[in-house]
Symmetry: C2
Subunit: 605 residues, 2 copies
């Protein structure tokens, strides 16, 4: 290794002059570009660790320095190998298994990925191993964060629903691995698509037709020489995503794939042969202080809860995730917003027509009002829309991150509107100016324009205002709060000007409050409590009509263009079908295996 | 036209069987796919308008139906032609100009784009024109929203700073158009990159060295036969974006490009020849009731404000946009968050080490605390980080939407973390369970773990708590508010269970509040007021150190990989350099001109 600094080292490894910038590449080309950098990633990790002093923070520092210095701009196909596959071997493999797998994994002779789930045994703090060999001594420090890795197409946070099976065949002393259904296809592991040739698979274990819970198995995916998937192994890329397109997140389907008995991870449990009974036996060797056994039951209670007796993933499309209160909170707000914005658009059109008529009669009176209204509604509608789209996308979990959900593209369009045709903050300040000006008129008891006529009420009824839990009361409440906001801003500006500050400076210092004033969004604390209660009850009432309210938007499947939002609800079939259309999946082995991965695996770093 | 319904018509036009899905394409291929659909877009608009009843809502309905039915999933290269170029001709051109340009634009014989800005004269409500010919009778209804279109690389909402010049040459009766600086390059207009052959350009008008303000001009960009840019016209694509990659947003640089006098938009102002003086004269014909002349000064006041006497775009990189209070509010929060999360990570590592030591001694006591802490921090850190990234991206205006800013890719990575390794809402509910459980212990005056020891304080000092505007006071305030939240949730659950509801249902109905409890984010109203005031003053104090605090993150330019965040601050040079690397810009005319645009322009719809 040269004696130059880390920056220079990384720089010298990653000169990309004359290459087309990443953002212009196709999905397939982005992956290929990332594989070209895989050797650099390994070198950087080794180099950085060399420079560490072996202190307690070594692992975290390595990761931080790695992220600060290494060109993994959009993720890396070997991130899961480094961050999860290696720690899995460290934490779950028996001593013999570790001796067999670890050196090969550390030296990148094999590249792995990791299809674990929350229910599966977690890596435990491992005994420190030889620092100079691995750089992974403190790998366990990062583990508390790996809690709920999604693995199967139809199974995210719900753990016991995992469908992949490992059936022990005592005659051949092998496990037979199967993903018996579409929904049991492994889905998401980074590097699984075309990079990894080994994988940790989590499956339901059966011995003599008896269920023994969930265990981890080391599975070879691809031939080490040709990289061709082994018989019974169907593996590929899950498709374009919102981001992280350097990572070939993959799917995996298994059909009667046999692995030796010794490929079950055996640190905490193993299957032993019992000769006298001609049968097998699962031996569990649990640590007395097993952190997972304490924290996991909590987690399962949470995840398995069945609010209305309907929660059963195995029933497939009938699952009503909307019965969770937190999901209702996320989704019904968006539906309500759609209807509200439609009404607002009608209202604005009406005002626009009225003002146009006024203009033809020579009256300019309501023009500032129209301007303020249009500015405010453009800003609010665009930013709320973007927030709602993102909320809905996140509510879809990992599937919402897939480009084929179309939610990333919809977000890209929605958030653009926050900037074009008038940046939202600038527009809100325009409205704020109108409000401050009109406030003076209201103080002077002048006649006010219709959309701000509630200012008058503030001056008349402010003292006697009493919250009322009705639609009218809610409206009145919003008006009072909005008016109070403006009142406060105006007083603030006046105060600052009295202390000698110029108007524009006072305005600038008050502008955050002013933006809030234009947003109309706050209300007093006890009022919110009452509203909250009412809101929770409304969610339950609206719930049965949620689907109908959305169908009424009347968007066709062709225009929605989403694997998740199609009328027939065949989500999983569509997700898989779109994945299979990826040009990366047109060939079993990507060209970069021969140019970059194979040399790396043969030790030619 | 066939008599089938609109859905079937659109469907028949857009069958894309066997095509590679859009998301897998490169930036260049996405544009080419979009151009293949341009003819369909024109047909749909015509078809939809045919079906309208000519009512007042016709235009809005057309747009809504268009968006609901037409496959413009990621935008269209002719959207600006339809939504802005045509209305500009309708609203700003003289009768003779309209007669000359409108039919050609409507029939797509020419395709235009629009480089207007807020300062330029806006289209006014036009007299209804023959419905059967155009479908644009109500085009003006949409115009109030087109307020601040960004046009030049260095000039967004600041209007008077536009640098493009139109100098009248009275000898040849021509205008000479120039973009004299890099920052005056036109930047953003949709369709400008490779689709449009005409463009409305907004420029500072000079006659005999005298400045006459900002006016619009019709400029031919490309040869109608070959589509090659005309002499002096440098035009191209601005590069990959966060979204809307079907739209070829473009840049335009002009060097002594001459256009005839009659190509200035002459509805409201024209340059006349004054033969007796051998000079020229600008004649302004302002409508008495000109809506823009009333609303625009407001807008300019807003946009031109100079908070500290430093606001001068023309000084280039010295502009300190951070002197705006609203920008400080957006950006300084992110900087503070970075430092806070670093401390949190240290703290969590410490707790993790302590708990690991406890485990080795056989004590499991603090394990649930660590689990709750890790769940909460994973959720809060990932969602706050995503929100901060998006906040910063939006604060960069249009430039933050460019892929070359790297902010879209950073957001893609940040938001992924909200879903992977445990969906955030699920994790927050895990923390909530811990909090509710610990609450019972606190009520029973049991000894509490360190991170929740403040619960005890709530039971002891709740009544006597008094807000104090100090760091300690703020901490105390947060603790009281957090504790009150949990108190309310627990009471809520108990109340619901008393009324006969099972625990899990009561939990589900309370879960929105529970998520909020886990977030620790609220505080009482009057306390917020005091904090707000302090906060505004702190912004001003931190302002001088903002750059230093960010430099201390110590990310190298190579890793940041951003046109906007580079150390030398040469933003505009980098933006243009990255744009020029687009494969679309490698050839002056894209192949789709010959296969799709030219046939369309020759009337072969």
């Amino acid at each position: 290794m040269c004696s130059c600094g880390l920056e220079e080292f990384v720089c010298s490894q990653t000169q990309e002059t004359n290459k087309i910038p990443y953002d212009y590449l196709s999905h397939k080309e982005k992956y290929e570009r990332a594989v070209e950098n895989v050797a650099v990633v390994f070198k950087c990790i080794h180099k950085i660790y060399e420079e560490m002093d072996g202190s307690n923070d070594a692992y975290r520092d390595t990761i931080v320095r790695f992220l600060k210095r290494t060109p993994c701009n959009d993720g890396s196909p070997v991130a899961v190998h480094i961050l999860m596959f290696l720690p899995a071997i460290l934490g779950q493999a028996s001593a013999e298994q570790r001796a067999q797998w670890l050196p090969r994994a550390i030296n990148a002779n094999i590249i792995g990925t990791f299809a674990q789930d929350a229910a599966a045994p977690k890596p435990r703090p491992a005994r420190p191993i030889d620092k100079s060999r691995t750089g992974l001594r403190h790998a366990h420090l990062v583990l508390p964060f790996f809690l709920n890795l999604q693995t199967e197409l139809g199974h995210g946070t719900f753990i016991r629903g995992l469908e992949t099976t490992a059936t022990y065949d005592s005659k051949t002393k092998e496990f037979i691995l199967n993903t018996p259904t579409l929904t049991s296809s492994k889905w998401w592991p980074g590097g699984l698509g075309h990079t990894a040739n080994y994988c940790v698979v989590v499956a339901q274990l059966y011995i003599n037709a008896k269920h023994y819970g969930i265990h981890s198995f080391m599975l070879q995916l691809r031939d080490e020489e040709t990289h061709i998937p082994l018989p019974g192994v169907e593996v590929g890329n899950i498709g374009a995503k919102f981001g992280l397109n350097s990572v070939d997140n993959g799917f995996l389907r298994l059909k009667n794939v046999r692995i030796p008995r010794t490929h079950m991870f055996m640190k905490y449990a193993k299957v032993l042969e019992c000769k006298d009974m001609d049968s097998s036996l699962l031996v569990l060797e649990k640590l007395k202080t097993d952190p997972e056994s304490i924290s996991r039951p909590e987690s399962e209670k949470e995840l398995d809860q069945d609010p209305n007796g309907k929660w059963d993933w195995n029933r497939g499309p009938e699952v009503q995730i909307l019965d969770f209160n937190t999901q209702q909170h996320k989704l019904l707000i968006s539906i309500a917003t759609y209807y509200a914005f439609n009404s607002l658009a009608d209202e604005l059109s009406k005002v626009h027509e009225e003002v146009t008529l006024d203009l033809q009669k020579g009256s300019l009176l309501r023009l500032p009002e129209l301007h303020a209204l249009a500015c405010c509604l453009k800003a609010i509608c665009s930013s709320d829309t973007a927030a709602c789209v993102e909320q809905c996308r996140l509510a879809c979990g990992g599937h919402g991150y897939m480009s084929s959900s179309n939610l990333p593209i919809i977000y890209g369009m929605a958030t653009a509107a926050c900037t074009y045709e008038g940046e939202n903050t600038v527009l809100l300040l325009q409205t704020a100016r109108f409000l401050v000006k009109t406030w003076q008129a209201a103080k002077n008891r002048e006649v006010l324009m219709s959309t701000v006529s509630y200012f008058a009420m503030f001056f008349e009824f402010r003292e006697s205002f009493c919250w009322e839990n009705s639609m009218d009361g809610i409206m009145r409440g919003f008006e009072i709060v909005a008016a109070s906001h403006i009142d406060k801003c105006v007083k603030n500006i006046e105060k600052r000007m009295k202390s000698g500050m110029p108007y524009e400076d006072a305005w600038n210092l008050t502008s955050i409050q002013l933006v809030a004033a234009a947003e109309y969004t706050t209300i007093s604390k006890q009022d919110i409590e009452l509203l909250n209660h009412r809101y929770e009850e409304l969610l339950t009432k609206i719930r049965p009509n949620a689907v109908g309210l959305v169908d009424a938007f009347d968007f066709s499947d062709d225009v929605l263009n989403s694997t998740l939002g199609a009328y027939d609800g065949r989500v999983y079939e569509r997700l898989m079908a779109e994945a299979l259309k990826s040009p990366l999946n047109a060939e079993p082995v990507n060209r970069t295996f021969h140019t970059h991965l194979k040399p790396l695996m043969r030790g030619k770093l």
